[in-house]
Point group: C2
Chain length 325, copies 2
């Protein structure tokens, strides 16, 4: 018996065929190459067909499919809202998959939930009942486990922590993405750096020699590691925001662990001690002493492992079942 | 069959003897009168003895007792940490109760959880699965229901939202109580008002004629309702903080409702529309449109009703059981 995990990211689709124990039978990745709308749906069904054939040719069969999507999945309708994939405002992904899945069980989840569950299954959240996966990439979101269960909220949009209010007064820049995401996401770091560059005529550091619109958060982190003063200012503020957000999650959830993942953790992982120092100032003092801050063990594979896990869970408990598929 | 709910507050003990359906058989309140340590424990056991006798004299008997405490109750040890009751740093309340409870089941919970459960049983949270009870009194805390279950965290101190970080940079005033509580609790409102009075020589409003150390949050709310400019400044800032905190709870939990209770809501209840307006600026935009902000239906009785509910729940599901008592 095999299960299939599929992770739809902003630029590629990763698939892994798992045994029940989580061993990898087959692994594949394809890039989206600017595909949009139903073309992305078709690329997902292609992966399913490939993995079904692979499985059959090895005398096995897929019993359950889990899919991680970069946005919000409505468990009642099978519709997906993925802001970074053109044409996926309310995309009927489940309908696409049903055309090729036959009687295989199908589960669709948000990437924030899959990242969390991947770490719970095979990564740094193993054995935890109360844990937060804080994903800092282009945007910011969190997968949250409470009493061993995923926090979904009343309409499947819990964990939208990029909208966390951390700095008065309200600024119009926060309207489209939220205060925390504006200041401390990958996109945010690039934006804030460009803004400082525009207002600092005297700065002659390494970021001054780049085309402002091409500066990425990775450039800023590199410059920070080289001791660049502008990068020091930007990342110093980020550490403050990451620390305050960590403090808030600790005071609210009293979790065993907070796991930092997404594209930036990664390269910002060395900042965890500074983030903990900042969080210690703000958080409930008993809770912050008990929590462990850690990075993702699975890094870029957390989503596809989480997708494999929800596929497996669906078979054993039906708790993620989307109905009669 | 009867259950007994006891609410230990900072100044009094309220007890209600309930039927299974939640009808009130007997109600009693006694003041603490500066009692401390074991004297408070003895006053609680007196209430139990009184209610046992009342029950027996009516041909009934108490099957389960629930107790709400103003602090943290450790479900594993029965020890209670209640900062506002002298000598209750790690008070063995369960041991006291066992001397008079016989074979009656006993459950101890934090007041924030009991307020939440009181509203769930008999108040404005009826039928909710994802709801936050935001208690603003002397301090600030929250009882939080996720997927129908109380959020406790890994060591029973979840919901410590008085520690929420909402305003950079960190200020040493936040060290003892947290940023949100410093600015927007009852105690905080009084402190901030006194600070403004010290630095404003020109102010001649109604608060200038009070002894600064005697000013309470209720005085400031009254002055606000009378159009006083200093009170307007203080309460205006509070609305900002309450709105930001509401936004954060909405973005994180995607709840059906947030219920405002505690001593201040109460008199600040008329500010809910202003708080919602502020929260709308900051919060995840879909989530904030779905949430309902409401006040406590039970007000001062939320804790004792919650204590009655945990007593009843303990009988039916044993989910709050503290062991063989």
């Amino acid at each position: 018996m095999a299960t299939l995990g599929i992770d739809l990211g902003g630029t590629k689709i990763s698939s892994i065929l798992f045994t029940e124990k989580g061993d990898v039978l087959e692994k594949k990745a394809v890039t989206l190459n600017q595909r949009k709308g139903p073309e992305v749906g078709a690329l997902i069904t292609e992966q399913i067909i490939h993995m079904k054939e692979f499985s059959l040719s090895h005398g096995d069969s897929i019993k359950s499919i889990g899919i991680s999507v970069p946005g919000i999945s409505c468990s009642k309708t099978g519709l997906v809202w993925a802001p970074n994939i053109p044409g996926w405002e309310n995309y009927p992904l489940l309908d696409d998959i049903r055309t090729v899945s036959g009687n295989i069980a199908v589960t669709i989840e948000s990437d924030r939930t899959c990242h969390l569950l991947g770490e719970l299954w095979m990564g740094n959240a193993k054995g935890c009942s109360n844990v937060v996966f804080l994903a800092v990439g282009t945007g910011i979101g969190a997968g949250i486990l409470v009493n061993g269960e995923v926090l979904r909220g009343s309409n499947d949009i819990a964990g939208s922590i990029g909208w966390m209010a951390l700095d008065r007064p309200f600024h119009e820049n926060y309207t489209s993405c939220g205060c925390f995401e504006y200041h401390a996401s990958g996109e945010g770091i690039a934006k804030v750096t460009r803004q400082y560059l525009r207002h600092d005529d005297k700065y002659r550091g390494e970021l001054a020699y780049k085309e402002p619109e091409e500066i990425t958060s990775y450039d800023v982190l590199n410059a920070y590691n080289n001791g660049d003063p502008l990068a020091n200012k930007v990342i110093g503020e980020c550490i403050e925001f990451w620390g305050m957000a960590t403090a808030n999650l600790v005071s609210i959830f009293n979790p065993e662990k907070i796991i930092f993942g997404g594209g930036l953790f990664g390269p910002a992982a060395s900042l965890l001690p500074d983030i903990k120092n900042e969080a210690e100032k703000w958080a409930q003092p008993v809770s912050i002493r008990q929590v462990i801050l850690d990075t993702s063990a699975l890094e870029g594979d957390a989503g596809v492992y989480g997708a494999g896990y929800i596929a497996l869970e669906n078979l054993s408990e039906k708790k993620y079942d989307l109905g009669d598929v």
